[in-house]
């Protein structure tokens, strides 16, 4: 483009291009690389068969999360295949001198929770991980996105990947959010508006006062789900909220290095007048607490609304009918009062302290509904500790809930936390795909407030009525 003004995305991307290939991708330098047990072993095997080594081991950080049990973590992992992957991660990281926060380590937790809380994630960085929710780190004004295992091998062996530069999209939300409308509702609303594929090919910048006024935890929830509308990632310009969050964390710059970093971070914003390939603007006042009714995250609606009729939607009628049939729902059904069997609060989307505070705000003084099985899973040991220190554990225990140990858990049900066939789960995670939470499981995505309302009433309930 002839426009010499740059977006935040341009500034960070362009600063990391090692080589531009004509009629091909850019070779992009990667500042920080996270790995976990599931998508890394084949990459290490590949390097061995090529006879190459990890180029910059200090730039990669490993944590075990996808496969790990959420109870009795001090005991050997029962599932032999999971144990094998955890061992492989331990072995591979030890062999190459990569930092590894494995099971039992006080810093262990979900990769997209522990990166930011330890100060590894910083503005202006390029960050990748073999996990699509790497977009979470964009909350800090970093370019962060998920990659495949071949690319994990590229980063380990050369600290670079090869990517065509995506197009740019800006999504602005302005105004005041209503009562009980959380960051999760904001992103579910955006995805419902632009669809599960509406941002494919784009990298998103979130702008407007709704995001400016949001906490870092909230911004992470929003950026986390960028991938659910097809975007490679999403980012938010760093500001005082960002700097205050990072300051003092273990891996954050200190002293003179902090001053220097801060001066750089303050330049990381979109220039006035810079152009985007696509723009959307929404009004905060239009957003109510959201819930999904179908089998992709774009199939969401405000809690007071009814499931749309197939012919009111564009195309894909057979896929729509397939989704409703899987969910056991019908056109024009109300969502309020739908049955609930399981409630899951946790995941890289909503497994941070603010999410448990929100959950506890509704649970306090009430009791868990007898028909509900609840999995309360902190995103990390640090979050678990905060839950205890802030008295949230006492509120949960009083209401009949148990706190589990950190991990990805029922978000993707690789461990034992599986929702049985045909059962309904109100879940604070990010995907409601068929079978995502266990074969035949039916997932309703929602905020921690909505999850709490379901957990104490035993049916889908508007959280505004309990606040």
């Amino acid at each position: 483009m002839s426009n010499s003004l740059s977006t935040l995305f341009d500034k960070v991307w362009d600063a990391h291009v090692v080589r531009k290939i004509e009629d091909g991708p850019d070779v992009l330098f990667i500042d920080r690389h996270f790995i976990h047990e599931v998508t890394s072993p084949v990459a290490f095997l590949g390097m061995e068969s090529r006879g190459v080594k990890v180029l910059f081991p200090e730039r990669t950080f490993a944590t075990a999360d996808h496969n790990t049990p959420t109870i009795n973590q001090h005991l050997p992992v029962k599932d032999a295949l999971s144990a094998n992957q955890l061992d492989a991660l331990e072995r591979n990281t030890a062999k190459y001198g990569i930092s590894h926060w494995g099971l039992g380590n006080p810093k262990n937790g979900i990769v997209h929770v522990v990166g930011p809380e330890n100060g590894i994630t910083q503005p202006g960085m390029t960050i990748v991980c073999g996990d699509s929710h790497t977009s979470t780190h964009g909350a800090f004004g970093a370019i962060a996105f998920g990659i495949g295992t071949s690319e994990v091998e590229m980063v380990l062996s050369s600290q670079c990947i090869m990517q065509p530069k995506p197009k740019k999209m800006r999504i602005s939300v302005n105004g005041m959010l209503s009562k009980a409308v959380t960051p999760k509702d904001v992103i579910l609303y955006i995805i419902a508006k632009i669809s599960a594929s509406g941002a494919t090919g784009y990298f998103v910048e979130y702008a407007g006062d709704v995001f400016e006024n949001m906490s870092m935890e909230g911004r992470m929830t929003v950026c986390n789900m960028s991938i659910e509308m097809g975007a490679r990632g999403g980012m938010i310009a760093p500001d005082e909220t960002t700097f205050n969050y990072i300051n003092g964390r273990e891996k954050a710059p200190k002293g003179e290095a902090w001053d220097k970093a801060l001066a750089y971070w303050q330049t990381l914003k979109t220039d006035e007048g810079a152009t985007f390939d696509k723009e959307y603007t929404f009004s905060a006042a239009d957003i109510e607490p959201m819930i999904t009714y179908g089998t992709n995250p774009g199939m969401g609606l405000g809690i007071s609304q009814h499931i749309p009729k197939a012919f009111d939607l564009e195309g894909g009628v057979s896929s729509y009918e397939k989704a409703l049939s899987y969910m056991g729902f019908h056109e024009e059904d109300a969502m309020i009062g739908k049955p609930v069997d399981y409630v899951f609060i946790g995941s890289c989307t909503n497994g941070r302290i603010e999410d448990f505070r929100a959950f506890a705000s509704i649970v306090k003084g009430r009791k868990k509904a007898d028909n509900v099985t609840a999995w309360i899973v902190p995103g990390s040991h640090i979050v678990e500790q905060q839950i205890k220190e802030e008295g949230i554990l006492d509120i949960l225990t009083e209401a009949g809930f148990e706190l589990r140990q950190p991990g990805c858990s029922a978000c993707l049900a690789m461990n034992d936390d599986k929702v049985p066939k045909g059962k309904y789960a109100v879940s604070t995670s990010n995907r409601n795909f068929e079978g995502r939470q266990g074969p035949g499981a039916r997932t309703l995505l929602a905020s921690p407030l909505m999850a709490a309302a379901a957990a104490v009433t035993g049916v889908v309930t508007d959280p505004r009525e309990l606040i």
């Binding site: 004509e22 091909g24 991708p25 998508t39 084949v42 998920g146 594929s197 896929s319 079978g435």
Partner: protein, 198 residues
């Protein structure tokens, strides 16, 4: 990992006219526990293909012997969701070498190109034509020519060009991959690090 070079592929095709096929359907998370790239094809579309007792679901297309071939033709937004390269591995290991859709999710598309599975994006109209042709005759031959960048329904001669960048095209024609490319530019990367902020 080495993959088959891709030049011209002529094959019957398997139709999957469903939109938003996500990578959790292509390969469910519980089958991602291997530490080697082996046997992922066995669990391709596991929960659509098999009942809980492992008996085949007769109404799923991969269990219908009249549909075979190395080309999968699918509805729009194929490969959405998780970044698991295992989805592309499962398709490749099952025997597919090309997936045709009107729209692919980004990460899936990149993963496929990295392992030698060619994603071909066609117009929604052309996708309908392919589905119609296969429905009329499951033995319909489809030709995908990477050198010419065209996809042709051989019986009628209808064809459409498709887009692929020159770098990736060269890689797929020759079975090269990005890892080798990057290994060859290590000196340049080392030099870049000297000037890097982080």
């Amino acid at each position: 990992m080495a993959y088959d070079k891709f030049t011209v592929l002529t094959s019957t095709a398997v139709p999957l006219p469903i939109e938003n096929v996500d990578t959790d359907q292509i390969i469910p998370a519980r089958f991602l526990k291997a530490t080697e790239r082996k046997s992922f094809g066995d669990n391709l579309f596991r929960d659509w293909r098999y009942n809980a007792d492992d008996s085949p679901k007769q109404d799923f297309v991969l269990n219908n012997p009249i549909y075979t071939g190395k080309i999968l033709v699918a509805g729009k937004n194929f490969g959405s969701g998780s970044s698991r390269e295992h989805a592309a591995w499962a398709l490749y290991d099952y025997g597919f070498r090309c997936v045709v859709s009107s729209f692919f999710a980004d990460i899936f598309k990149g993963n496929s190109l990295n392992i030698g599975l060619l994603p071909v994006t066609v117009s929604p109209e052309f996708l309908d034509k392919i589905f119609t042709a296969i429905e009329a005759d499951p033995n319909t031959q489809i030709e995908v020519s990477l050198p010419e960048q065209t996809i042709t329904i051989l019986a009628t001669g209808e064809l459409e060009p498709f887009v692929i960048n020159g770098y990736k095209k060269h890689n797929m024609l020759n079975g090269f991959d990005d890892i080798d490319y990057l290994q060859a530019m290590k000196a340049e990367i080392q030099q870049f690090v000297e000037t890097s902020v982080y």
